[in-house]
Amino acid sequence: MSDIPKAATPEAPAPLYGVLAEYDDPTTLARAARKVRDAGYTRWDTYTPFPIHGMDKAMGIRMTKLPWIVLVAALIGMTVGTVFQYWTNAVNYRWLVSGKPFWSWPANVPIIFETTILFSAFAALGGMLVLNNLPLPAHPLDLKERFRRVTDDKFFLFILVRDPKFDEKETRELLAATSPSVLDDVHEDRGSSDQVPKGLIYALLIAGAASLVPFALFAKARESKMSHGRIHVVWDMDFTPSYKPQSGNPLFDDQRGMRLPPAGSVPVDHLRVDDHLYQGKVGPAFASTLPPGIVADESTMKLGKAQFGIYCAPCHGQSGEGNGPINQRAETLKQGWVPPSNLHQQYLRDQPAGEIFRTITHGIRNMSGYASQIDPEERWAIVLYVRALQKSRTAQVSDLTDAERAQLK
């Protein structure tokens, strides 16, 4: 024992806490640890700058229960992820997505996976800290200046006085035989407490209580009535500088937000002074001819036929006899129906072209006006086509030209 340099022990009134041996390399430490283990000590530990493989075995450390803690946390995370998604999306606020079932679980798997990992990771770190009794602000070993090198390059073995096998003489001899570089006594630390400082605890308590204040205000706001409107921190598009139609506008004499157009203004394309073209009238009476701009030629006839087929034939029928598919359906249903006119009736044959134009434009009886759907020029084309249909029932051979008569033969 004499060849081992013994550290100078200062006059220490504090009781002995344990015996500390210092080593220079992991192999010597492991040999020492095996000896201490085999001697039957239980309240002892080794301190190293890094984890040494094989040290668990040399010290006889049993497997930690940390994996089980993490497993439980993983199962809790999985359950929380599943139940929370089910309750929120399928029960409490049912999200209808493209007609899928409210609970279509494969699409919920990614988030279940993430919550499982999240809970497990917190359990792994938190469990390690709790099982290791961390954080630990102070320890008697901190009083040893040389112990600081435990996080650098030195290896330590420490046996506590509390160990049932501890004996001041025997334990020292046991450690001295393991060829430590230094053997030292460690005394209890009376100067510093291993408790968290009181001030820090109070500060944390006050901060914790203060952090609840906003939530208390939220809770109060939920239960109380407000005399003012919602507070808009960010206005988004809730308020715009424009004046709404029914709101007032102080800029104008009449204080109205909605403005009338100046008297006499005509919207674009709304100037309709030609009575013949737009009303079908010449003076007070209906016009008997097409307006000057509409030419009774083959292209106008084709246009009229096409528009008649689209707008008129559904009720009046392709040949204008009032038997279109809508009429047929209405007759079958027998629910009361004003039938569309047969365009071949005598009084319709006698009507001036302008009156037929008026009927298409403004409607009659059950028929609504088509002004919004068919342009005036197209309406005149329909009139021309109706005239042709009517003529088709009363035409005489004498109406044909000589060439056409020749074809008939």
């Binding site: 390399d25 190293t48 700058p49 930690t64 940390l66 993490v70 993430e114 990992i117 650098d152």
Partner: protein, 455 residues
């Protein structure tokens, strides 16, 4: 201690009788030096300038509305989402190195895992900014979280965009936990070496009273293994979920089942490239050449080559499947990628991601820091273009020619892209100076002197 000496990059490097103290000194002196190297100040100044641009341009976007960015119908995603996917991808290497290589017992990772993890976290921070602002009303991001509200509404958990919130959120949280836990023993080293009270208090607080007890190490290592086992599927899931944003849509060019593995491989590829880009100057300026050795850089070059080949395979397979599907729109989408309006971007991507890493077949190139550094930058450019190609070509040329459009980025687009690098580098430079840049305890455990030699 079955590590064969030939694979140990530290064999014969750390000479002298106390390699542990050498490692501690090498890493701790970066924090303890009264002044960091001049290069650090220059780099920080540049990074802060870019960060200022980031803040100003994002402030403008928030104030004016997201129309300040160049995206417009039909490219509603544009640069912000390209940048988001790019940064999330960068953020994959850290956890991959920490977790996946740990599970595969690739112990060489110990030299680079710490700052790769830091890089991960900073990249995820950069990534989160973009969708956070791109949502349009950045003051309402909490609508994405399941918080009880007066409308009685809950988020739609079956949407891939909501999966993203959880995947990226969980990934950021678990990465921070993993990073912090890894640093606890190194904080204790910093604490025990501190001479000033402030440092001793701050690092002491962060170390939480760690004293290196073997009984604590036992639980610590178990927790580390568990976190690695949890983070491994997590890192694979994050970019898979990001790829679902595309793959679950019906757009030609997005609607493909290869996306999840293709995105993950691309993320590892881009992430490793960023690690070498950061590692090369870091080891140079902070004197870490003995800890981050040429062997490490060579191994990372090999990973870049391997993942680059996987990415190249994915590009080829996309083309093949488009042809093999017989689907007209799919075929057009891919022909258009290679020969259409953004063909230049496509061929830039092919050059950067598929061709440039091929130089790593040669050992001479793998062991030349300049080649590694330059290829790392090229690959990062290529990975940015990969996301640009996926988003912009597909959106500008979808099913109906009537719905086709052009995409012209605005100056604000470029400003936010450049600015995000400012945020990333500012955080990284502060990390280099004030936190343990290398996992000292893990490196010590890995060198031959750290093993028990008599059993």
């Amino acid at each position: 201690m079955a590590t064969p000496s030939t694979t140990n990059p530290y064999q014969g490097l750390l000479k002298g009788d106390n390699p542990f103290a050498q490692i501690t000194d090498n890493v701790s002196r970066i924090m303890e030096a009264p002044k960091p190297p001049l290069a650090w100040y220059i780099a920080l100044g540049f990074a802060l300038m870019l960060l200022g641009i980031f803040g100003a341009s994002l402030g403008y976007v928030v104030w004016e509305g997201i129309g300040a960015w160049g995206h417009i119908h039909p490219v509603a995603w544009g640069f912000p989402i390209v940048n988001f996917v790019f940064w999330v991808g960068i953020g994959h290497a850290g956890t991959l190195i920490s977790a996946v290589l740990f599970l595969f017992r690739q112990n060489w990772r110990t030299a680079i895992n710490r700052f790769a993890e830091a890089m991960t976290i900073f990249a995820v921070v950069c990534a989160a900014v973009f969708p956070g602002v791109h949502i349009g009303r950045p003051w309402l991001p909490y609508w994405m979280f399941p918080i009880p509200n007066q409308m009685g509404m809950w988020p739609q958990f079956r949407s891939p965009l909501e999966w993203d919130v959880f995947a990226v959120g969980t990934y950021a949280t678990v990465s921070i936990l993993f990073w912090y836990m890894g640093m606890i023993p190194d904080f204790a080293t910093f604490r025990d070496r501190s001479v000033s009270t402030v440092r001793r208090f701050v690092y002491g607080l962060l170390a939480m009273g760690w004293r290196g007890s073997s009984r604590q190490w036992h639980r610590y290592e178990r927790a580390y293994l568990l976190l690695a086992a949890l983070a491994t599927p997590l890192v694979l899931s994050v970019h898979s979920v990001v790829s679902f944003d595309f793959a679950t849509s019906q757009l030609p060019g997005w609607h493909t089942t290869i996306f999840p593995p293709y995105f993950v491989a691309g993320a590892i590829f881009g992430g490793f490239a960023m690690v070498v880009v950061l590692a090369v100057p870091a080891r140079q300026f902070f004197g870490l050449k003995k800890i981050i050795t040429m062997k490490h850089l060579e191994l990372m070059a090999k990973v870049i080559l391997a993942t680059g080949m996987i990415v190249g395979y994915a590009y080829a397979m996309e083309m093949f499947i488009a042809w093999y599907s017989g689907a007209m729109y799919e075929q057009f989408a891919f022909l258009n990628r290679a020969f259409g309006n953004f063909a230049w971007a496509y061929w830039t991507m092919i050059f950067c991601n598929v061709l440039s890493p091929q130089v790593f077949w040669f050992k001479k190139m793998r062991t030349n820091v300049w080649v590694i550094f330059v290829v790392g930058i090229i690959v990062n450019v290529g990975m940015w273009f990969e996301r640009f190609v996926i988003i912009c070509t597909s959106l500008t040329r979808d099913f109906l020619p009537a719905n086709w459009g052009a995409f012209i980025p605005s100056p604000i687009d470029y400003a936010t892209l450049a600015g995000s690098f400012g945020l990333f580098f500012t955080l990284f430079l502060l990390f280099c100076r004030y936190l343990p840049m290398v996992a000292m305890a893990e490196v010590k455990a890995f060198i031959p002197e750290g093993h028990i030699h008599d059993h």
